[in-house]
């Protein structure tokens, strides 16, 4: 008799608990965000997305991330992209750069299976055919264009303007990367307009220090152009810069933290923070094709003051007002 009562009570409690959690789960609307990134150095974008979503009123308990990282190997991206698109089928995918976005686009095209994708910092989405138009991208892709391809001209201008005695700028790029080539062309065009000498230097599989030294002349500066291959040699470029007392203009905050003198471009974290808006709009039911691609909200001009002192260069006081000093961890304050 008593056992019967206890069993009934336990059954009711289990039923109530199950009903409670089922309704809670239904209400929570948990979403899955797939993430594809070529290397660990872009992981700051994920932090930006999370903070951005929280800023927009999301709770991280209701969001799960499925992350595939290519370990700086472009060949790994394709199988990961296939796995992400075919097996995981997340609600939305965040691709952390141009190469990741292009691989995803190919995979989706092959599989004829399109998942709304937000690119988080892509240099040339229009030029690579990922979107049809900035204002109405069409298709399954939207996101944040980091504008780094076009921004190279502005960076050259800022680099030569802030260091008055700069006679020539060596442009480090990757000839086998489309964006990098396009960026070089735009930079050379701007150099002509500004009357500045530039010297391209191709960097791909490995960092050829001697070759760079051969190119380098007295009074030169180094400027990196968008390329994930060039990004991978950040530490080597820093060492080279310090050994040869040559200033370097980079793009990202982490490069300046590592030892570049300047960096002008949106940070990985900032791109992620901004892309959270696109993710939110897609999660709210908007089609990626309707959501305009955005340029970076912020393009900070980073300067490493320690390196500046080390190189002992004379900098333009007016332009220095635009700069933002970076110290250890300073770039994470976005």
């Amino acid at each position: 008799m008593r056992k019967g009562w206890i069993l009934i009570l336990i059954a009711v409690i289990i039923a109530l608990t199950a009903a409670f959690f089922m309704t809670e789960r239904a209400e929570e609307d948990t979403v899955t965000i797939g993430v594809l990134l070529s290397g660990e150095n872009r992981i700051d974008k994920l932090d930006g997305i999370k903070d951005g979503l929280e800023e927009l009123g999301y709770e991280m308990d209701g969001i799960s991330f499925v992350i595939f990282e290519g370990e700086e190997d472009a060949e790994l991206l394709e199988p990961y992209a296939e796995q992400l698109v075919i097996e995981e089928e997340p609600d939305v995918i965040a691709s952390f750069g141009g190469i990741e976005t292009q691989v995803l686009a190919e995979v989706m095209e092959e599989q004829n299976h399109f998942i709304p994708t937000v690119f988080v910092g892509m240099a040339a989405p229009l030029e690579t055919g990922i979107i049809e138009d900035f204002r109405e991208p069409g298709g399954a892709f939207t996101g944040v264009s980091n504008f780094h391809m076009n921004l190279s001209a502005k960076r050259l201008e800022l680099f030569t303007e802030i260091i008055g005695g700069l006679e020539r700028v060596v442009l480090i790029y990757s000839d086998d990367i489309d964006i990098s080539r396009r960026s070089l062309a735009l930079t050379e065009e701007a150099a002509d307009a500004l009357g500045i000498q530039v010297e391209p230097f191709h960097l791909s599989g490995h960092f050829d220090k001697e070759a760079l030294e051969d190119v380098l002349e007295e009074g030169d500066g180094l400027m990196t152009l968008p390329s994930y291959q060039v990004e991978a040699f950040t530490d080597e470029i820093v060492s080279f810069s310090l050994e040869n007392s040559v200033p370097v203009m980079g793009i990202y905050d982490y490069e300046v933290e590592a030892g570049f003198l300047f960096g002008y471009g949106s940070s990985f974290y900032g791109q992620g923070f901004q892309a959270a808006r696109h993710i939110s709009l897609i999660l709210q039911g908007n089609s990626p094709g309707d959501i305009p691609v955005e340029l970076p909200d912020q393009i900070p001009f980073f300067i490493n003051e320690e390196v500046s002192e080390q190189l002992n260069l004379e900098l333009d006081e007016n332009l220095l007002k635009l700069t933002e000093p970076v110290k250890n961890g300073g770039g994470e304050g976005e």
Partner: protein, 697 residues
């Protein structure tokens, strides 16, 4: 079902459940009702705050930009102060570019965030010249929303210097502003959108409605609308939310509250049930144990696993159980012993109820009278048709106990004598008043007593034989002398003898002597006659006289001086057997004579007197007396202090038996060397005594 709710277990469980459910339900209902009003109000306030927050952000952005431009303009000579422009670019992240325009609107200086600062040739920065005319009246002007080469929405803000007509203009990108408004996760289907001065939607969560004109004239029913104006640019920020969706937190709270209340009720119920069972279980165990005891099964010793009052109660129950078992075992032992004693004893036992019916009798009694319990006891035990007078059950009398000899004719027609004792039982219920009857068949005992009395008599007769012979011999000798003399006188002068009357005198003397002999022999015959106990009323003095007559010769022979003292008043008659009392007196006189045999002047004092309601006959001698050690054994059968062959030892024990039979008693006082006093105390017949007294009066 009714039985269920009578049990303590279900009452405790029901009480626990009610106490768990009712307070929680009441609190929950009260809480939910109070909270629902609060949530509704606070939801509206919360939404208003959100809208106001977004609107204020936009206002601040535009206002601060105008303020900064004004400040710059007031500085003058801006063309040479690039640091001021860069400073503004750094401070205001939404500014794409800053331009310094001359009074005609041509770009003098340009600072861009995205592209090189090169100035395009021949172009006017302001696309709509009407704006410049506005500036003549107002130093601040803003453009419509426009799109740059990359599709980014922006507006132009311009301020004009009143001094030289120069203007400062900025391109303010709106993507962040629009994006923040559009992508903010609004709860419960709330929609936020931004309308510009042309009713064009420039920010909306639904991007399909972006850049369209808001042509709605009415707001849908049951929709809450919150609107905030951004006067700086004549925009409106609007939030719309269906009222039902706005109240969804209340429904959510109701649901969660219901779940929580259900859980709490269940939890409380489980605790109540557990607590109820915890308290009721030992009671049930004790109840079960009591039921076992009630039906005669001894329960196992219960585990004492608690230290509270229930533990003490269980331990006390265990002790009580053990003690009762022990007592029952002892009771059974006692009963067994009692059964054996009762069943094996020669006495008959019976329990008789108030109505004289027999409740129980032992086998011995059954064998005597048969098992006829419905027959009243007096008929069963006494051949009577009415209750015994002295029976304690008899309400007309008030005897506490009864001890009588009753006679009953058995089935063979033989009359049996039973000693019939009745003891009231104290521990009976009032309506079940009962007495215990103990019956002893004393028929054989009585017969034996008669034999002993007879033996004693014969013994006394033997002792009295010479006295008898003497007593009879003297009158016979007189008869012989007178007969011989008469014979001689008849031969000599027969006629003279007749005439003188001597013949008649002689014959009269002979007749007197023969009568005397006859009287002696009659006494002797009476004394020696074997007779059953026969109760009759008799004068004690007469019996004493007859006894003295029997002992007259013995007294004379032993030269005993007899002092007989009688009262002046008549002693009331005694109820009993006079022959047997005579036997007692003869025995006592003989014993006194024997005790004084060696005395020079033996004196026997016999006193008859009344002491209260009893007649006392004392026999005092001045003989050798009785040692004190022998006094307790005096009335034992066969005890004698006389030399062998002189006494049988039966005397005093028979005397005692006779006196007791007549409800009297015997007392002895003796002083060795001084003599003894034997007192025979007999109850007088009260009726007779009263009659006598009545007569004497």
């Amino acid at each position: 079902m009714k039985h269920l709710f009578r049990s303590v277990r279900y009452k405790v469980l029901l009480f626990g459940l009610i106490m768990s459910i009712i307070p929680l339900v009441l609190i929950s209902v009260y809480y939910l009702m109070e909270m629902s009003d609060y949530v509704e109000d606070s939801a509206a306030v919360s939404q208003e705050r959100k809208v106001e927050y977004f609107a204020e952000t936009i206002r601040n952005d535009i206002r601060s930009t105008f303020q900064k431009l004004d400040m710059m303009m007031s500085m003058g000579d801006l063309e040479d102060q690039s640091g001021v422009f860069y400073d503004l670019l750094k401070q205001q992240e939404s500014i794409d570019e800053i331009v310094l325009l001359n009074a005609e609107g041509e770009v003098q200086t340009r600072y861009s965030r995205y592209s090189i600062n090169q100035i395009a040739e021949g172009g006017l920065w302001v696309s709509d010249q009407a704006e410049l005319s506005v500036l003549a009246n107002d130093n601040h002007v803003f453009s419509n929303v426009m799109f740059n080469d990359y599709g980014q929405p922006f507006i132009q803000l311009i301020v004009r210097s009143e001094e030289n007509g120069e203007m400062l203009g900025v391109s303010l990108q709106l993507q962040k502003l629009i994006g923040n408004v559009s992508s903010y996760q609004m709860e419960h289907n709330a929609q936020v959108y931004l309308r510009d001065q042309n009713e064009q939607i420039i920010a909306h969560q639904d991007y399909s409605r972006l850049w369209q004109t808001d042509q709605r004239t009415e707001v849908p029913d049951n929709t809450m609308v919150i609107q905030s104006s951004i006067d700086e640019v004549n925009w409106d920020l609007v939030m719309e939310q269906p009222r039902r969706e706005m109240l969804s937190p209340i429904f959510d709270m109701l649901r969660r509250g219901s779940f929580t209340a259900s859980f709490m009720i269940l939890f409380g119920s489980m605790i109540s049930i557990y607590a109820g069972l915890y308290f009721v279980k030992p009671i049930e165990r004790l109840q079960s144990g009591m039921k076992h005891m009630q039906y005669g099964y001894w329960p196992e010793k219960m585990p004492v696993d608690r230290n509270d009052e229930f533990g003490e109660l269980t331990a006390a129950f265990n002790d009580m159980n053990t003690e009762i078992q022990e007592k029952e075992r002892r009771l059974e032992q006692e009963k067994e012993r009692l059964d054996i004693v009762v069943n094996s004893m020669d006495a008959g036992l019976a329990v008789v109820k108030k109505d004289y019916s027999i409740a129980w009798m032992n086998p011995t009694l059954q064998s005597w009278i048969g098992d006829q319990r419905s027959v009243p006891c007096f008929r069963m035990f006494n051949d009577k048709d009415s209750p015994c007078y002295s029976c304690p059950l008899n309400e007309s009398a008030s005897f506490e106990r009864m001890d009588e000899n009753l006679t009953k004719t058995d089935e063979n027609g033989e009359q049996r004598i039973y000693r019939h004792r009745v003891f009231p039982l104290q521990h009976t219920l009032e309506e079940d008043e009962e007495v215990l009857i103990v019956m002893e068949d004393i028929t054989e005992e009585k017969r034996m007593e008669e034999k002993l009395v007879q033996t004693d008599k014969l013994s006394a007769l033997g002792l009295m034989a010479s006295s008898f012979a003497h007593e009879v011999n003297n009158p016979l000798a007189s008869v012989q002398v007178y007969a011989e003399d008469l014979t001689d006188r008849l031969e000599e002068d027969k006629e003279e003898l007749l005439e003188s009357g001597e013949m008649a005198d002689y014959l009269n003397i002979i007749r007197k002597n023969i009568n005397r002999c006859k009287e002696i022999t009659n006494n002797l015959l009476n004394f020696s006659r074997k007779s059953a106990f026969k109760a009759e009323e008799f004068p004690i003095e007469k019996v004493l006289d007859d006894s003295l007559m029997l002992m007259n010769h013995t007294l004379k022979k032993n030269h005993v001086s007899l002092k007989l003292q009688k009262p002046h008043e008549k002693i009331p008659d005694i109820s009993g057997d006079p022959l047997k009392i005579s036997q007692v007196f003869v025995n006592l006189i003989q014993n006194a004579v024997d005790a004084m045999s060696e005395k020079e002047f033996p004196v026997l004092e016999i006193t008859v007197e009344m002491e209260g309601e009893e007649a006392v006959v004392s026999f005092k001698d001045n003989g050798i007396g009785i040692p004190e050690s022998n006094i307790p054994k005096l009335f034992d059968p066969f005890f004698t202090s006389k030399p062998t062959g002189k006494g049988t030892g039966l005397g005093l024990s028979v005397c005692y038996g006779i006196v007791k039979q007549m409800e009297g008693t015997m007392e002895v006082q003796s002083e060795p060397g001084e003599g003894s006093v034997f007192r025979v105390i007999l109850p007088v017949n009260r009726k007779d005594a009263d009659g006598s007294e009545g007569e004497s009066e």
